[in-house]
């Protein structure tokens, strides 16, 4: 299978601090790629570079055959990237349904005038997209909290809603930033199932940052290991597990 995403020699700095140094890796179409590494390894920054929240100083990201030095987040979304955030970025003033509906905004073609008058196309779009959203709600089994304000939901469910919001955009590639952080075992199991199903049954390429090594080894096809902004491992889960640098990084050998 071909590479859907190529990260080449990316370096990202904030002021004088290097968050990422010269990182390259490829993500194949249809795989689950996990990016792992200790805290502060630059994982989230990597994701932010991929979908254009941060602009790298050096390096390019090739997505879907187009090589770019930078992309803005909106264009990334239009090109079929969707993502979730490490510290849940749901819209706190809205309920679950509305939050997931925002994920469909690129499918809404009617003008604000039509929407304000609630006529024709606007009304119909609201119905059609609601249907798409409802399918995701069913998929994630969150029917019972459909109209609950997200601010009232427990953490685990918020993560699930955020996944729903990304998923409903019908992305080609899904970027998940610590989808299982702070969850209990049962919630982790559910989330793993959802991610696997999204990947295997809907064929959506997934790039995921995750701390839980058990989960990573279980569900990912490909693992990239970062440490202090540098890549120290890249390969299948078993290869990575055998890599001495990775073991050192995780067991905390002094640098």
């Amino acid at each position: 299978m071909s590479d859907i995403l190529k990260v080449e020699n990316v370096t990202l700095q904030f002021g004088g601090v290097k968050a990422i140094t010269d990182i390259s890796f490829n993500v194949k179409e249809g795989e689950i790629c996990a990016v792992i590494g200790p805290n502060g390894a630059g994982k989230s920054s990597m994701l932010n570079v991929i979908n254009g929240v941060y602009l790298p100083q050096i390096g390019t990201v090739t997505y879907d055959g187009v090589e770019r030095q930078s992309i803005n987040p909106r264009d990334a979304a239009i090109a079929g990237m969707a993502r979730t955030f490490q510290n849940i970025a749901l819209f706190q003033g809205m309920n679950v349904l509305e939050n997931i509906m925002t994920g469909r905004n690129l499918f809404m073609k009617s003008t604000w005038l039509e929407q304000g008058l609630n006529i024709g196309r606007a009304r119909e779009e609201e119905r059609v997209n609601r249907l798409a959203v409802e399918k995701v709600i069913k998929f994630l089994q969150i029917e019972s909290i459909r109209k609950t304000p997200v601010s009232k939901l427990p953490y685990g469910l918020q993560k699930r809603v955020e996944l729903g919001r990304a998923l409903v955009a019908e992305p080609k590639i899904l970027l998940l930033d610590e989808p299982m952080a702070g969850m209990n075992l049962e919630e982790k199991a559910d989330m793993s199932c959802f991610i696997l199903e999204i990947n295997k049954e809907q064929g959506i390429t997934t790039v995921m940052i995750e701390h839980d090594m058990g989960v990573v080894m279980d569900i990912s096809d490909h693992v990239v290991v970062l440490d202090y902004g540098k890549k120290i491992g890249d390969g299948s889960p078993s290869e990575v597990m055998a890599n001495q640098d990775v073991i050192d990084a995780y067991l905390g050998v002094s640098h």
Binding site: E134, E143, S144, K200, E201
Partner: protein, 603 residues
């Protein structure tokens, strides 16, 4: 001449556009008219035809109430097949037992969860094809016996099935129903179960304008009778909730006029009300308590016919300000008949529901009697009995105090074991008949406890009394061959949670909450109250607050939340031994592989 698919056909002829079935999916209520219903049954029938289902084929339907599963029941029967409804939460041993006893050939499973359970025991039964309704999560399954129902439907034609339906006989077997307590299957014919439901319909004048929500799996015989068959027979709409988490909200949205519920559901409503009011502010809490007291006083006057106009006004005020909102929340506002099966409500709760205008009608029945042998009439005020035998039924008590019945709508045990003399069937329950012939059920025969003193009693009465507290989810009474009676008490997580919040008790989880001294005192106080109403030899002397709830998946409670003593005796044998040997505490090695320390408290 009536058969299950025949009823569908006749409704289609009489009122094709009336709503037959509503189910919530993707956030909205979709409805099927009778003609849609027939069309769905037709396509399912044609699909199943391709699997060469014919007269006498046994097909299991395994899952929650989703429309496809409901349609396939009629479809199987239209081909002369026999339907075995299986509870979606069945343990694999139960599933194996049902499948092999019934010699099921084809299994229609709802989704991955059911398919997985089945695949675990695939080699041990005679099923040769599995049809699933929802293929989610099974894309990688390689088993060639797995088929998607949708694929079958696409491949099949859409021929009329009127001839198929007309060629089946009402005396053909329609269902094999599983009785959890007896651990055996019963053969139920179309005529038997339909006639039985007709009795309920005439007795309560149910019409096609009524509506009912079926939120429990149809494998529960009483549920099958009261919801599925009764709605088909009377033509009322059958409503299916969106998922198991949304039942409460869905019932509220529909606002059914008829409610069928095993007793645990009403118990749950009581607990939920308590849990809500426990977290109300002081003033509202106190007013609720006062209103509750006045309401019950007025109700008692009403029953004895002494209520004055002032009482009526007062009651309307109390209803408007305190109890109508509760009815609204649980969707009980429009209820005309509420049938209770599988256990009776304690007097307090029974009276409460009657007082707020939800007319509870106890019924008694099981698989052997096609779900119902007796039902209380409307406006009955006694909480103890389960009504008189319905027309065509007779009830007597044999020498062992066991309830025996005879009915024209009987079901035959597949193993043929309890078909006793002259058509009298032993129900497996002990009970008595009161002066006017109402049947009073005490409990299951096999559960009877004999104390060392030789005193024999049914634990269920005491269990009912203990669990009528909103803080108690369940209770198990022990005492066989012992000096005194003991109890294992399971507290209700929700209501005790909010009670604890109110009392500023800190805890991290259920297990810790259950071990709190305050909680033990709460339980102790309640049991002491219960003891006051018990004769001295039956007073509960010791109790244990269990560190977890009872688990249906383990078979510790039945599908209708009755305690299953045999299984509990195995899973919690450490507790039982400790109580038997008069210890003060015990160490439990539990099913989750962890061990817990429990105190045995004395009263």
């Amino acid at each position: 001449m009536a058969t299950i698919p025949g009823l569908v056909l006749s409704h289609n002829n009489n009122h094709p556009d009336a709503v037959a079935l509503r189910y919530k999916q993707l956030g909205i209520w979709n409805s099927y008219s009778w003609s849609d219903y027939l069309a769905e049954v037709t396509s399912s029938t044609n699909a199943l035809k391709s699997l060469s289902i014919g007269k006498g084929s046994v097909v299991a339907v395994y899952g929650n109430n989703v429309p496809k599963l409901i349609f396939s029941i009629s479809a199987i029967q239209a081909l002369g097949g026999i339907v075995v409804p299986i509870h979606p939460e069945s343990t694999s041993s139960e599933l194996k037992k049902i499948l092999s006893d019934s010699k099921t050939e084809i299994l229609i499973a709802e989704d991955q969860q059911q398919v997985d359970t089945f695949l675990g025991i695939e080699s041990e039964c005679s099923v040769n094809k599995v049809i699933y309704l929802d293929g989610r999560g099974m894309a990688t399954y390689k088993n060639e016996n797995l088929n998607s129902f949708d694929d079958l439907i696409v491949k099949s034609n859409n021929a009329s099935i009127e001839n198929d339906i007309n060629s089946i006989n009402e005396n053909d077997t329609a269902f094999y129903l599983f009785d959890e307590h007896e651990d055996s299957l019963y053969k139920v014919s179309h005529a038997a179960i339909i006639n039985n439901s007709s009795k309920i319909i005439t007795l309560n004048t149910l019409t096609e304008k009524d509506s009912i929500v079926s939120y429990l799996p149809l494998s529960i015989p009483t549920n099958l009778l009261f919801t599925f068959v009764t709605s088909l027979n009377s033509g009322m709409s059958l409503n299916l909730p969106e998922s198991n988490q949304t039942i409460e909200k869905d019932i509220q949205e529909i606002g059914p006029t008829i409610l069928y519920a095993p007793s645990f559901v009403f118990k749950h409503i009581i607990t939920s009300i308590a849990y809500r009011i426990e977290s109300a502010n002081e003033a509202n809490y106190n007013r609720y308590m006062n209103h509750y007291k006045s309401l019950m006083e007025i109700y008692n006057k009403e029953v004895s016919g002494e209520s004055s106009l002032l009482d009526k006004i007062k009651k309307s005020w109390i209803m408007l300000t305190t109890f109508a909102p509760a009815k609204n929340v649980f969707g009980l506002t429009k209820i005309k008949h509420a049938f209770v099966s599988d256990g009776v409500l304690s007097k307090v709760n029974f009276d409460f529901f009657h007082a707020i205008g939800v007319e509870i009608q106890h019924s008694f029945g099981q698989a052997a009697s096609c779900g119902c042998i007796s039902v209380q009439p409307d406006h009955s005020v006694s909480s103890e009995n389960a009504g008189k035998a319905m027309t065509g039924c007779e009830i007597k008590i044999n020498d062992d105090s066991e309830v025996c019945f005879k009915t024209d709508c009987s079901a035959e045990n597949l193993a043929g074991s309890n078909n006793s003399n002259d058509g009298w069937v032993n129900s497996g329950y002990v009970g008595k008949l009161d002066d006017v012939g109402n049947i009073v059920i005490d409990g299951r025969l096999e559960d009877m406890i004999t104390l060392k003193s030789g005193k024999k009693f049914s634990p269920e009465n005491i269990e009912n009394l203990i669990s009528c507290s909103p803080f108690v989810k369940a209770a198990v009474i022990l005492g066989n061959n012992q000096d005194s009676v003991s109890a294992i008490v399971v507290i209700d997580p929700n209501s005790v949670n909010s009670w604890a919040d109110r009392k500023n008790i800190r805890y991290t989880g259920y297990t810790e909450l259950a071990s709190k001294e305050e909680v033990k005192d709460l339980v102790k106080e309640h049991i002491s109250c219960v003891n006051d109403s018990l004769e001295s030899s039956l007073k509960v002397k010791r109790f244990v607050v269990l560190h977890r709830t009872l688990v249906m998946n383990e078979g510790e409670v039945s599908k209708t939340m009755e305690v299953m003593r045999k299984k509990i005796a195995i899973n919690l044998k450490d507790v039982l031994t400790a109580i038997e040997t008069n210890k003060d505490n015990c160490k439990v090695d539990d099913i989750d592989q962890l061990s817990y320390e429990l105190d045995i408290n004395k009263i």
